[in-house]
């Protein structure tokens, strides 16, 4: 509940859990430096014919760099390449340097499936970092399950999925939503909510969870719930409705180009988010989106997610500096970009714990993997292949960054099939 972003036990906790993690992985604890490939003969670590040689291992990156989704997925590609570069510099995975084969999903879901198959069958990659929208993930899922691949998926999403062949490094809906609603009810004394979203599965599922939580758990009121087609650019009518209903909280899950239109028109209609009420709480606007919206149009809004670029911990300071060094000083890092950065690292840790690149031992070693150097702090892989992570609320400033105003005291358990919220 503290306004201070450096919660005092963050560091001590990290160190303690780091130690716990080290003792849980005797292999790592006994190693002074990077692993040597010669200690792990290729025949031992690669029994299934993956693209692993004595000094190299190949992984795939599968994102859209052309088409509509390129705007969102570019950051993920950058973060994954940064992580892979850092892993290589620190000695690679089981002493092997990572090589990348990058494929373009081209914002087209069948293309994603086709390229996934190419990466797994033809290139025999040891793992894939990729996908962004739920639609693309649903398209590649059967491919990964059929050919037994491993996908690291970075986006916060609606939940309702759990595959042995996917690690979800973003938050599922309940992790992202519930903590934010509790916070706004408690800290801002919110009594009434207006739910608003783009019309597809993620906002609809998320708002369903939000409505259940608001009405059943918090006992508060939802005064409106609305959806607008993807790409909608005129929000004046709904803004008038909001003015009429006077909700304490506008809960907005608008995505893509609509976002820009929504916040510009909200400001033009005289709704000032820097005032006490109404509170605008969103789960869909990261620092990436603010680039397009313009900081001055969204200043004062609250966002609820697990990572903000402004997080004040040493991991994150190093990460932001490295990211800017690699991709330019004016690059911004949003929640998904950070989650994409986790993928290669979690894979490396799991492979080294398993002592093998093969998928089946990897599946067994993944749950319980801890990553203490995560920019967001500490994360751990849950049995259900999602991550334990903290949830934070940030307030938008006019320079396009968020100021962290709240973070959950403990890690929030991922619950992709929440009971009572269906």
């Amino acid at each position: 509940m503290t306004k201070d972003t450096k919660s005092p036990n963050l560091y001590t906790m990290n160190r303690r859990q780091l130690l716990a993690g080290m003792s849980a992985i005797p292999l790592l604890a006994t190693m002074g430096g990077p692993l040597r490939a010669s200690d792990f003969p290729t025949a031992e670590v690669n029994k299934t014919g993956l693209a692993v040689t004595d000094d190299k291992v190949t992984v795939g990156i599968l994102h859209s760099v052309t088409g509509t989704m390129a705007i969102s997925e570019t950051g993920s590609v950058e973060a994954e390449k940064l992580a892979i570069k850092q892993i290589n510099e620190s000695g690679g995975v089981l002493g092997r340097q990572i090589e990348v084969i990058q494929e373009d999903g081209a914002s087209d879901w069948p293309t994603f499936a086709e390229k996934a198959k190419k990466l797994l069958v033809q290139d025999k990659v040891a793992s894939v970092m990729g996908c962004w929208t739920s639609a693309s993930r649903k398209a590649v899922l059967p491919v990964f399950e059929q050919y037994n691949g491993m996908l690291f998926y970075p986006t916060f999403y609606e939940g309702l999925e759990e595959s042995p062949n996917v690690i979800y490094t973003g938050q599922e809906a309940t992790q992202q939503i519930i903590a934010g609603l509790d916070w706004v009810a408690k800290e801002k004394g919110a009594k009434s909510f207006y739910l608003l979203g783009s019309d597809y599965i993620w906002p609809r599922t998320s708002n369903k969870i939000a409505r259940k939580h608001i009405e059943d758990k918090l006992g508060l009121k939802v005064v409106g719930e609305e959806y607008y087609p993807l790409g909608h650019t005129q929000f004046n009518s709904v803004i008038n409705k909001i003015k009429l209903k006077k909700p304490d909280v506008i809960y907005a899950i608008v995505v893509g180009g609509s976002n820009v239109a929504f916040y510009k028109q909200l400001k033009a209609a005289g709704i000032d988010m820097t005032k006490e009420k109404p509170v605008l709480l969103t789960i869909s606007v990261t620092e990436d989106e603010i680039l397009g919206i313009g900081g001055e149009n969204i200043v004062g809004a609250y966002a609820c997610m697990k990572y903000f670029q402004s997080l004040e911990n040493d991991n994150n300071k190093e990460f932001v500096a490295a990211f800017k060094e690699m991709w330019g000083d004016d690059s911004v890092i949003g929640d998904v970009t950070q989650a994409a950065y986790l993928g290669p690292w979690l894979w490396k840790l799991a492979v080294e714990k398993a002592g093998s690149f093969d998928i089946d031992p990897l599946k067994e070693s993944l749950p319980g993997i801890e990553f203490t150097k995560a920019p967001e702090g500490y994360v751990r892989i849950h049995e259900n292949h999602h991550l334990w992570s903290k949830t934070r609320v940030g307030r938008a400033k006019d320079d396009g960054q968020y100021e962290v105003v709240y973070e959950t005291a403990d890690l929030v358990e991922p619950d992709p099939f929440p009971e009572g919220y269906q």
């Binding site: 760099v65 052309t66 088409g67 509509t68 390129a70 705007i71 570019t74 019309d199 719930e225 609305e226 959806y227 607008y228 087609p229 790409g231 909608h232 650019t233 005129q234 004046n236 009518s237 709904v238 803004i239 008038n240 409705k241 003015k243 009429l244 180009g257 609509s258 976002n259 820009v260 239109a261 510009k264 028109q265 400001k267 033009a268 209609a269 005289g270 990436d288 989106e289 603010i290 680039l291 397009g292 919206i293 313009g294 900081g295 001055e296 149009n297």
Partner: protein, 308 residues
């Protein structure tokens, strides 16, 4: 009392809702005018219309950056210069495209649809490669932001007023050009009878090129103005294209008056329905209504009475 609201609140909201409808109307007219000129006057289906708009938006973005860095004292007026530049750049690109591509396809109208669709993909990828895949934020002068409060409930968005004024100006300009100037007379002559117009000494090729350029230029201005209310990114043009075609086809392809009437009908229907139901449902109902009317009147609301 109406429901939970006082008459005062209710009438205020009604007024604001009417104003929201008018803004939507202006936006539609602005989007559709350029297309109506090209589609209506030349019979070319320009699927790349949205990309010409976004070119205008990018021009605005770069003008704002230029002024921010080199002429910060004149930042307040950059927007007007940006609109003129947007008109010139989009118009020039339009004339080039007409010369390089469209003029070879006048006899094959369906192929122009494919060719311009391809052009729109090329332009999108060009923007993405050159300007970056991410959306850019255009900084506006202070006086274009915010709203004017008339009462404690009624607030009039300034950008909306600006778009309305600009739409009026452009509509009047187009009307003057098409119906009161010598050039407009030539354009109309070419539409009515190309061979005859050529025979009396009108350079029909030049008229085509200028008409196409004018349509694209207006798209550029529209794109420039829309940086106030929407996003600027490589694919943002796609957000407008469906509504634009809807307005033009519904209005009757060959009629500018029809375009305006149809923009008014669709915008009012949509913003009224949006108030009483969810946005997605409002859109569905609007589309259903348009489809229904087009089934009864395939030529659209207004049609030119010309001998075929």
């Amino acid at each position: 009392m109406i429901g939970d609201y006082t008459y005062y609140e209710f009438s205020s909201i009604l007024a604001m809702q009417a104003f929201a409808g008018l803004i939507l109307f202006s936006v539609f007219v602005m989007m559709a005018l350029g297309l109506a000129i090209i589609f209506g006057q030349m019979g070319v289906i320009n699927m790349a219309h949205g990309e010409f708009m976004i070119l205008g938006a990018y021009v605005t973005y770069f003008t704002s950056i230029f002024f921010e860095h080199y002429l910060p004292s004149l930042f307040g007026i950059y927007f007007f210069l940006a609109m003129i530049l947007a008109f010139i750049v989009s118009g020039a690109l339009g004339m080039f495209v007409e010369w390089a591509m469209i003029r070879h396809l006048y006899k094959r109208p369906l192929d122009t649809l494919l060719a311009t669709w391809g052009l729109s993909l090329i332009l999108q990828q060009f923007y993405r490669s050159v300007f970056g895949a991410r959306e850019v934020g255009v900084t506006l002068p202070e006086y274009l932001l915010g709203s004017i409060s008339l009462t404690d409930i009624i607030e009039v968005p300034i950008n909306g007023l600006f778009v309305m004024g600009l739409t009026l100006l452009i509509t009047f300009g187009v009307w003057f050009l098409m119906y009161r100037s010598g050039w407009g007379k030539k354009v109309r002559a070419v539409i009515q009878n190309r061979v005859m117009a050529g025979a009396v000494g009108i350079n029909t090729k030049m008229v085509d090129r200028m008409t196409f350029g004018l349509g694209c230029g207006i798209a550029g201005v529209a794109g420039s103005a829309f940086t106030m209310i929407g996003s600027t990114g490589p694919t943002a043009g796609q957000l407008y294209i469906v509504d634009t075609f809807l307005v033009v086809v519904f209005g009757g392809a060959a009629s500018l008056l029809g375009t305006i009437a149809s923009a008014f009908t669709i915008s009012q229907a949509q913003s009224t329905m949006e108030f009483f139901m969810s946005g997605s449902m409002a859109k569905v109902l609007t589309l259903l209504t348009v489809v229904g009317i087009l089934m009864l009147r395939p030529q659209g609301l207004f049609a030119l009475k010309i001998r075929r």
